[in-house]
């Protein structure tokens, strides 16, 4: 079952594959832990419509639905695609939001360089290890999506 009540956009009509404000909210929270403003969400929807490649393959559609249905999986999907298919249209949608958030004064503190103490650098190194683990799990998810989850 897919969240939302509309038909799947793969059939041509509006549906979960079309970008929505709720998607924008999920993605922004996933990327920086903050909600986008209405204007940023609208900007993202416009960017996806104008710039993102369509989710043309069954695997991309499935991964998108999976991520939007369970936001905690966005990171896994993203990490897996970063290894398996870094220029996937699914990842492109996430990337467009990242760019929009960065070019906004509301969120600039999340992007501008800041001094880091040694402890903070060590914490970042740990985060790097966690990212690698997420990458491994995501790789498995993306590889199996479309094979095991037909």
């Amino acid at each position: 079952m897919i969240a939302g009540s509309t038909a799947v956009a793969a059939s041509g009509g509006p549906g979960v594959l079309d970008p929505s404000p709720a998607d924008a909210d999920r993605i922004a929270r996933h990327l920086i832990g903050e909600a986008p403003s209405e204007a940023e969400a609208a900007r993202w929807i416009e960017a996806v419509r104008r710039r993102a490649a369509p989710l043309a393959t069954a695997r991309d559609r499935r991964l998108w639905e999976l991520a939007m249905r369970h936001p905690w999986r966005i990171g896994l999907v993203d990490a897996g695609l970063a290894l398996v298919d870094p220029h996937s249209p699914v990842r492109h949608r996430l990337f467009l939001m990242l760019a929009i958030l960065e070019a906004s004064p509301r969120h600039c503190a999340r992007f501008l360089p800041a001094s880091h103490s040694r402890a903070a650098l060590a914490a970042l190194a740990l985060r790097g290890v966690a990212a690698a683990l997420r990458g491994a799990a995501g790789w498995a998810l993306v590889r199996t999506c479309g094979v095991l989850w037909r």
Binding site: L31, A47, A79, L98, P105, L121, A131
Partner: protein, 534 residues
């Protein structure tokens, strides 16, 4: 007004040829497409990058573009920022290039590619000038003339024999930021060891003001050079054309794409097509100066003259090494800094300055973090904090190699019904196996040198040929009036009234940027033309 000279193109060569001609009392008509930036002009505040980021609600318009054209996707490649995108507007329609893997970048805009250049003003060593077919003494004098016009800052250091010999700057060069300053200090400590491997470092002269000059102000160190022309501190050729347009004896005709020329007994006629509407018109004068860049001039010459259809072509092989500078971990770059190249390294494998490689060092901030995040093989949310911490420690080293003529480096016109001119330039360019070996050996030495400075190369990306945006050698200088060549004074062989003021004649392309030499050569071509026709 009857014109003595038609100058085609408003870029570096055209602007300085025109200035010299006007100063010599000639009546000049400049033909140009002259595309202007209208969408983002005036949007970028005259504030520093951090202040803009922290306060400007409209920053997404110029950082990302109204059509989100500033958000790249796909494999990493150099791209123009939205406010600079107009540089290439119309080129696909008016001057298409057909090539496998050749990334040509041309401009039809007002001021040409100089509207987005990095401001490097290399003074080539005598041995390189001779290899190019230029006269060192004359060029040395022309360098000084052009430096006085555009404002060039330089200083004497270890790199002077490679890039600034004979250039006296009245003002101090651009400041280095903390990261580059640390690398420079490391270089000074390890100088003998690096010199033993043919590596020296210093600062390229730059056309950036550190003191006001005329209407232009000193650089405010806003770190916004990729987005705007704050204070007019970085020289742009349109500044010269703007000034010429206020003088008698100069007329500017925008909206015309020059197609071809023909000579009569006492005149030369340029056939041009209107960019809007497409009608053709002929412009006449006593002399013609082509200054459309090597590729643009090649098209006009190939359409105009009978003879061999294939021309040689030079371009610099180009790579970017992304390096980590661990001493900067945990630190941040200062607010007041420049986005431009801050320090150069030269690798001189033979020790004779001919064929030296040029490396320019940049730190990274004002091109925004998301472009870096995309390149990490991690989830974007994981890559963001890591790269945010690492970005002040990132040093980008652009590596330029020289080029010489060889089989497999050429261009020719081919029919193309989709283009506004009915033709396209087909380009083939491949380094010879020997060149590839030499370039690889040189890159190994350069990366070794960077490691010696405490800068760890993590990734080297070889960009497609043409990416360096330096093209030359299509009509090489010769003394025998051979077809498709230039006399030393820039006159096109087989013509009496047609002169070429861009880099078409250069028989060798040094690794360091050719812009300053383009302007100096254009001055000399114009001066010779003025002297020949009092």
């Amino acid at each position: 007004m009857t014109h003595d000279v038609i100058v085609v193109g408003s870029g570096m060569s055209g602007a300085h040829a025109a200035q010299t001609l006007v100063e010599a009392g000639r009546r000049v008509l400049m033909l140009d497409v002259g595309t202007r930036e209208t969408r983002y002009a005036g949007l970028v505040p005259e504030r520093d990058f951090l202040a803009v980021r922290e306060s400007d609600e409209d920053q997404h318009r110029y950082f990302l573009g109204d059509d989100f054209e500033g958000i790249p996707w796909g494999p990493a490649a150099p791209s123009l920022t939205p406010p600079r995108r107009y540089l290439t507007a119309g080129t696909e329609r008016w001057c298409p290039v057909r090539a496998d893997g050749f990334a040509a970048l041309e401009s039809l805009c007002y001021g040409g590619l100089g509207s987005g250049w990095g401001a490097g003003c290399a003074v080539y060593p005598r041995v390189e000038l001779e290899a190019m077919g230029l006269v060192p003494g004359a060029i040395a004098e022309a360098y000084r003339v052009v430096a006085g016009r555009i404002g060039v800052v330089s200083r004497r250091d270890d790199a002077t024999p490679y890039c600034s010999e004979g250039l006296a700057s009245p003002s101090e060069p651009l400041r280095m930021d903390t990261s580059i300053g640390l690398l420079h200090a490391a270089y000074k400590r390890r100088r003998p060891r690096l010199a033993a491997r043919g590596l020296v470092m210093g600062k390229d002269p730059m056309a950036v003001l550190t003191r006001p000059l005329g209407e232009r102000g000193a650089t405010p160190y806003t770190d916004m050079e990729f987005w705007a022309d704050h204070e007019g501190a970085v020289y742009r050729p349109w500044m010269t054309v703007d000034a010429l347009r206020r003088s008698d004896g100069f007329a500017y005709e925008p909206g015309w794409f020059a197609l071809s020329f023909g000579e009569s007994a006492d005149q030369v006629e340029v056939r041009a097509r209107a960019v809007e509407g497409g009608g053709d018109r002929a412009f006449s004068a006593r002399r013609l100066v082509l200054a459309c860049g090597a590729l643009g001039t090649a098209r006009i010459v190939l359409r105009s003259l009978p003879g061999p259809g294939r021309l040689p072509l030079l371009t610099n092989p180009y790579a970017i090494a992304a390096c980590l500078h661990p001493r900067m971990l945990g630190r941040v770059l200062e607010r007041d800094r420049t986005s431009l190249g801050q320090l150069e390294m030269f690798h001189d494998p033979r020790g004779d300055r001919l064929g030296a490689r040029m490396v320019s060092l940049y730190t990274y901030r004002s091109l925004l973090l998301f472009k870096l995040v995309k390149e990490a093989p991690l989830a974007l949310c994981d890559a963001l904090p890591l790269l945010r911490a690492l970005s002040p420690a990132l040093v980008l080293a652009t590596i330029n190699h020289p080029d010489v003529p060889a089989e497999g480096k050429s261009c020719e016109l081919v029919p193309d019904p989709d283009s506004a001119t009915g033709d396209a330039l087909r380009v083939a360019w491949a380094a010879t196996p020997a060149e590839e070996r030499e370039n690889a050996a040189s890159e190994r030495a350069i990366l070794w040198g960077l490691r010696q400075l405490g800068c760890v190369p993590v990734k080297v990306q070889h960009l497609p040929p043409g990416s360096a945006v330096h093209y030359a050698g299509t009509l090489p200088f010769r003394d025998d009036e051979a077809p498709r060549s230039l006399a030393r004074d820039g006159r096109l062989a087989g013509t009496r009234r047609v002169h070429v003021a861009d880099g078409s004649g250069f028989r060798y392309l040094p690794a360091n940027g050719l812009s300053f030499t383009l302007m100096a050569n254009a001055h000399l071509v114009a001066r010779a033309l003025a002297a020949a026709e009092p």
